[in-house]
Amino acid sequence: MQVRLQLMVVLSAITVLGSCSREDRILRQPPSASNTLNTVQISGLNPGANLIPTPPSSNMYQESAYSVSEGQKLFEAYNCVGCHAHGGGGIGPPLMDSNWIYGSEPGNIFATIMQGRPNGMPSFRNRIPEYQAWEIAAYVRSMAGLLPKGVSPNRTDEMNIKPAESSTPKQTPTGITGVPEQPK
């Protein structure tokens, strides 16, 4: 009997411990979530130079694995992949490294999406709802490893940027001259 009691204690302890936002499915957007932007300064006039340090801002969407995964879906749907690929970059800068031209805080990325940036990043203001920009921002941060592993999507069901190892053509390592060095 005593043991049953212990089990019950363990069970209820687990219950108390987990009021865990990682698993929340935020389906209805709270109206307040969308009105917290544009208080974040990003940079001076020259992109990339003299970054103004910004206070860390919070983003409720980056605590929910579901929202980050929604961000991932939108990243595809809104054709972000067209320029940034799946984080590797192309026409646009890569997003999976640690270089941030306009800052890596959720607010910075949000502002980048909403306002656009010189040299090609369009502005999505009025094009996408703000909560979706927050979700995309959360996903972008996850690509750079800035989110805990528990909420970051692991992989998608899409094609990888890199082909599967079995289907990569066989390569011979080449030197500067293009001729493999033969061991003497």
């Binding site: 499915r25 389906l27 209805r28 879906k73 749907a77 809104y78 009025n126 094009r127 709802p129």
Partner: protein, 340 residues
């Protein structure tokens, strides 16, 4: 206001009548396929019913001799060769009958399967159905790209000619099922398959996703609209056209709103700048009976409610809420309702 409400109500009622859900039934076939299956169903049913009655009779007969003796177990029955012999015959013949019955069921099932699946026509109407979370993309492929009709959730087919459905899925597994028409077929990502049916009575047949596909699995309906060949061809010609130019000032403003807000990020309206394929094609959205995968009637009120807060109606749907101003909303609805 009252007039508008009653208009909406009558439209909803009319909708209900057209869909006639009372007929939404496996055993109300509207197609030869479902007819064959219905026949097989009843055939097996009556066989099984007979088996059921016999077995229950046997158990009842055996049980009728029961004794309730509370004072402890009864003595053991002595070994009785005679009884064993009779029981052996009874069990043996019951098994023989079982095997024979099963064989009949097997043969009829295979024969019916062949009748349902075998396509003889060389010139069927081919329709590509692609499952999305949580709607159906429907296209009528044609070798000329500009002759390809793309629509969503409502599948128009001509009565009396064979229809081939090619299946595919964009994300997870869905399953295409219209009970009045034929059995279901899974839409598997990475696999494409084909099956066919033919509808012999004009009408609207409801269908829905039958494989669990996530949050809005419950609201993933479609309908098959069977009409005469002429009507079907007229419909197809209409669908091939680009979107109608809005004629009223409100509708023109609606197009502006559509093209300057989130709508164009996901939807296509051919003839405008909106060309994203993430959501359903809206080029002829007003020609459909229902919206949101057969969840709401295609009325101004339902459309407005859907645009403003789709997450209330289908929590988890990919469509985002659009807090438009009342004027903008009215304009967009007017525009969409003009897209015949």
């Amino acid at each position: 206001m009252t007039a508008a409400l009653s208009l909406v109500a009558s439209h909803v009622l009319a909708q209900a009548k057209v869909l006639d859900p009372g007929r939404h039934h496996v055993l109300h076939p509207a197609a030869p396929q479902a007819g064959h299956i219905e026949w097989l169903y009843w055939f097996i049913f009556w066989i099984l019913f007979a088996v059921f009655v016999l077995m229950i009779a046997a158990f009842a007969g055996a049980g009728a001799k029961a004794r309730v003796v509370a004072s402890g177990p009864l003595p053991i029955v002595e070994k009785d060769e005679e009884a064993d012999h009779r029981a052996g015959w009874a069990v043996g013949s019951a098994m023989a009958i079982t095997v024979a019955t099963l064989f009949v069921v097997l043969v009829l099932s295979v024969v019916t399967g062949k009748r349902v699946e075998g396509l003889t026509s060389k010139n069927p109407v081919t329709i590509q159905v692609t499952g999305h979370q949580w709607w159906w993309e429907v296209s009528y492929p044609n070798s000329q790209a500009d002759q390809t009709v793309t629509t969503a959730n409502e599948i128009h087919v001509p009565v009396g000619s064979p229809i081939v459905i090619l299946t595919n899925s964009k994300d997870v597994i869905h399953s295409f099922w219209a009970p009045n028409v034929t059995g279901k077929r899974d839409l598997l990502p990475g696999y494409s398959s084909a099956f066919w049916f033919e509808i012999d009575q004009p009408g609207i047949y409801h269908g829905q996703c039958a494989e669990f596909c996530g949050l809005q699995h419950a609201h993933m309906g479609f309908s098959i609209i069977a009409e005469s060949v002429d009507e079907f061809q007229a419909w197809q010609q209409q669908q091939l056209k680009n979107a109608a130019e809005p004629s009223t000032s409100e509708a023109i403003r609606g197009r502006e709103v559509f093209l300057t807000h989130a709508c164009l990020m996901c939807h296509t309206i051919r003839g405008t700048d909106a060309g994203s394929r993430f959501g359903p094609d809206l080029t002829h959205v007003a020609s459909r009976n229902m919206i949101a995968s057969e969840t709401l009637p295609n009325t101004a009120g339902a459309l407005a409610g859907w645009i403003v807060d789709p997450q209330r109606i289908k929590p988890g749907t990919q469509m985002s809420p659009n807090p438009l101003s009342p004027d903008d909303l009215q304009a967009v609805v007017a525009y969409l309702q003009a897209l015949h």
